[in-house]
Amino acid sequence: MKRFYYEKERINIEGFHVPLSKRASVRDVVSVGFGLFVVFYLFVFFVISVTNTFIKDPMQVEISKMFLSPSFEHIFGTDFLGRDIFLRIVKGTEAFFIPGIISVTISTTFGLLFGIISAYYPRYFSKIIFYFLNIIDSIPRLIFILIIIVLFNPSIYLIMTFVGISSIPKVSSYIKSKVELLKKQQFIEACKELGLSQVNIIFKHIVWLSSKSVLIIQATLGMGESILIETSLSYLGIGVQEPIPSWGNMVSMGKDFFFQGKIWLSTIPALVILVTIMGLYLLGDGLNSIYSEKVSR
């Protein structure tokens, strides 16, 4: 009987005792590995395009080499002005990398702040904060962006700032529910009894040690979303403008040649977008299932 209770206790707190290496299944490892590969090549592309260490200029027009299909010389072929598509894809990471990081930073920092405040003061602060967050949440994101574009200028940095603002409610509601769960745990009570300060408990034990996984997952999802939004805005013609390459831009310019049978012009950037976003989503999903406590029976 005693042993039974002991095992039950262990099952309940398994998330804290089983090492990470034993909690991950093959599927999680594959998805996290794929996601890390995507993050790696995004970073490499960004470094190449910022330091400008190209073999050939991605903006250079060569009319004699229009519409070449993929070959050894041009891995992904050339577009309607004879520019190499692979180099333009590398250069196109610049269009969303820094704006995406800005939007993710805004959404995670403010989401964390509001989530913690509203979990710790549930009576008044929580209601006021969530009233304002619900206001932001109830305007559809693309219509919000269209309004911003009408009112101010269509710069990608401004747009991504507002994308970050509009995903604060999601992050902060996740954080709020997580902190509300953690607040009742025994180790937090123990921290209080040991005389740690409130700031120390919140930022070390609640944020850093227990809910950083939520933040990482939200950050990867936010990065994927910002790529998708950049793509759709470029399709509508209000994102990054044409001579400067961006992934959405390339898909939407290539779609004009779709019905002539030259489908790789838009298909290859679309496939790159697909693989990248899928990698980021899978990274978030794999981390989620690794970090979450397993139910065992």
Binding site: S138, I139, L142, I148, L151, S232, S266, A270, L274
Partner: protein
């Protein structure tokens, strides 16, 4: 019944407060804009005028075409509503079976391709999917119309709904989220004590966990996905030249037609908040004991 009425009135009040807040935010943003346009001006009187126009559904005239906004917006609103509701049902039809299938233990390797399919569908750019479908359908079959028959008698408008609903239903970002949520929740519920007890009594596991494992998470995610669907509708309507609210919003963005844009934002917010109200009421029906 009284508790239900209490909940209803409370939710209605909060919805009203939120709509007031949203219009205040939009009014503030419009006053931050440099330059001037008809109806702009700081002060409570202007704001009250705007509120009266919005809540009596007398929206005034467009500053570009000079037409009454009611005659422009409401047909577009109807078209978008059809598109959105149809694609929500399609998304549910696709994603719920995948979620149930991947929740069962021992089927992981069989359900993994379907889960990957759901990820692919939610990470492909919607407009690329639209062009792919138009290319395939118009080149190889030719059965389905790829555009909306404006005003003409030729062609059945009902058939022209098929392709946009199909593209928006597959290509909105919610499929993978629904799959993930239902798989996690169903896995959790299948291991709770009451489901195990009903399994021991010889009843179906799926049937006894359908309420808590599928319906409640599904309802709570579907209604919170409405804003994203309206956003996706902007793109899909642009691809299929569909006379809906999203395309109207985009056109009025290009024309700087702010009165139309504020009406569209108001209607979208009304949609979203009434969806939330409906969600609370339905959730109350499914779990009256809580709260």
């Amino acid at each position: 019944m009284t508790r239900f009425l209490k909940l209803f009135i409370k939710e209605l009040l909060s919805m009203f407060l939120l709509i007031i807040g949203v219009t205040a935010l939009l009014f503030l943003l419009f006053n931050l804009m440099p330059g001037s346009f008809p109806g702009k001006g700081l002060g409570g009187a202007e704001y009250l005028k705007l509120l009266r126009r919005l809540f009596t559904f007398q929206f005034g005239t467009s500053i570009v075409s000079g037409r009454d906004i009611n005659t422009i917006v409401f047909p577009a609103f109807r078209n978008t509503l059809i598109l959105t509701i149809g694609s929500i049902f399609l998304s549910i039809l696709i994603s719920v079976p995948i979620g149930i299938f991947s929740a069962y233990r021992g089927f992981e390797s069989y359900s993994w391709p379907f889960v990957i399919f759901s990820y692919i569908m939610s990470s492909i750019p919607v407009f690329y999917l639209g062009y792919l479908v138009i290319y395939a359908v118009s080149r190889y079959t030719g059965y389905l119309p790829i555009y909306y028959p404006y005003g003409s008698e030729r062609g059945n408008p009902l058939i022209s709904y098929v392709l946009p609903v199909l593209v928006l239903g597959f290509g909105n970002e919610s499929i993978s989220e629904i799959v993930r949520l239902i798989a996690n929740e169903l896995k959790r519920v299948m291991n709770t004590d009451y489901v195990v007890a009903s399994k021991a009594r010889g009843e179906s596991v799926l049937r006894s966990s359908i309420n808590e494992g599928i319906l409640i998470p599904l309802i709570s995610i579907i209604f919170s996905k409405i804003p994203f669907l309206i956003g996706g509708a902007v793109i899909v309507e642009h691809v299929f030249n569909w006379p809906g609210m999203g395309r109207l919003a985009f056109q009025s963005t290009l024309n700087r037609d702010l009165p139309v844009l504020i009406v569209i934002a108001f209607l979208a917010v009304l949609c979203v908040r009434s969806g939330m109200l409906l969600k609370e009421l339905i959730l109350y029906y499914f779990r009256p004991g809580e709260k």
